[in-house]
Symmetry: C2
Subunit: 163 residues, 2 copies
DNA sequence: AGTCTTGTTGATATATACTATCATTCACGT
DNA sequence: ACGTGAATGATAGTATATATCAACAAGACT
């Protein structure tokens, strides 16, 4: 544990400390701007976030990191498998903290609220398609979209969708 | 059927004529630039395509349509449900001709080859998640990725993936 | 076939998402 | 405390996509 991180550890949420320690363990420096991005991410930890939303979060607090550093930090966290990119329908690139287990997401099209799930039930279909098509399937992308309970109650309009 | 389209119908692939007739039926004009985009799309009808790939296709043939008109045509076809946007893992926005039935896609990460399938097997998981989370799920996005038989034979490298 | 009308085009500018460059700064091991 | 190399911010650049608008042409009408 570096002196810099130790000094700040007491006043940081555990999510931020966890992320910072993994960044340090991978040999990367825990800098002020990076910590600010980690705090922004931790504030969104329960749902999903875009780079633009992180940018607004840090700017609203007068923090330093510029756009480039926010992108760099998100990319670093992705390569460290601490954050993963998830796909929306229209608003394409969003991010969330990586789940420990293999998983997919269920996202509110109105507010970005996120639930995760692991059992997509696609393995039989995948094996069938491999036999049928000759493809070697190495990845699958599953995203569910709809309205979270809060947005349902608020009467938010739902996107027309396929089921 | 307009005179302009009738004149050219004989020398056009059926896919292009089908698309052009639906464009006309919706009250839009069948112009030269639009026909060029339709021919480019028809050339990719069996797989997927990006706007950039369409651009290269028409430019390689010295056709007129500028980038703006290619984007406009693809967008028009999307609103007419003749073309749909599909999502990749990294290279995000690609397109393909719309399937008559509800469907998902299986795409080659190497060459863009596309297979479609309808039965993703997710309905039980979707119903379970609705009960469990209180979300109203209105859409689902399912994409499978891997190597097509040709690229497997050619020894193409596969993306590291989740299954 | 000629004319009219309105939808469409291409050039250009603009917007947004993201990356490359590079001089300056600062985290961290010593 | 110091030195070094990694990280930063400012800036410019690339890629994707859209807004504007004068010029054009598809299709309807005669
Ligand atoms: Mn799965
Ligand atoms: Mn389905
Ligand atoms: Zn919501
Ligand atoms: Zn292939």
């Amino acid at each position: 544990m570096s002196r810099y991180l130790a000094l700040r550890r007491a006043m940081l949420p555990t999510t931020v400390v966890d992320l910072a320690e993994q960044v340090a363990a991978a040999g990367y420096k825990v800098t002020g701007p990076r910590l600010a991005v980690l705090r922004a991410i931790a504030a969104c930890a329960e749902s999903s976030f875009s780079v633009h939303e992180l940018e607004q979060w840090v700017q609203a607090r007068g923090e330093s990191p510029g756009v480039a550093s926010i992108f760099r930090t998100v990319r670093l966290l992705c390569t460290l498998n601490l954050v993963e990119r998830i796909h929306g329908i229209e608003d394409c690139h969003r991010y969330c903290l990586t789940n420990e287990r293999h998983g997919h997401h269920l996202m509110c099209t109105q507010c970005g609220a996120l639930e995760r799930f692991n059992n997509c039930g696609m393995q039989p279909a995948i094996r069938h398609l491999e036999r049928q098509t000759g493809f070697q399937i190495t990845a699958h992308l599953v995203g569910l979209f709809g309205l979270c309970p809060n947005c349902v109650r608020a009467g938010a309009p739902s996107l027309p969708g396929r089921t």
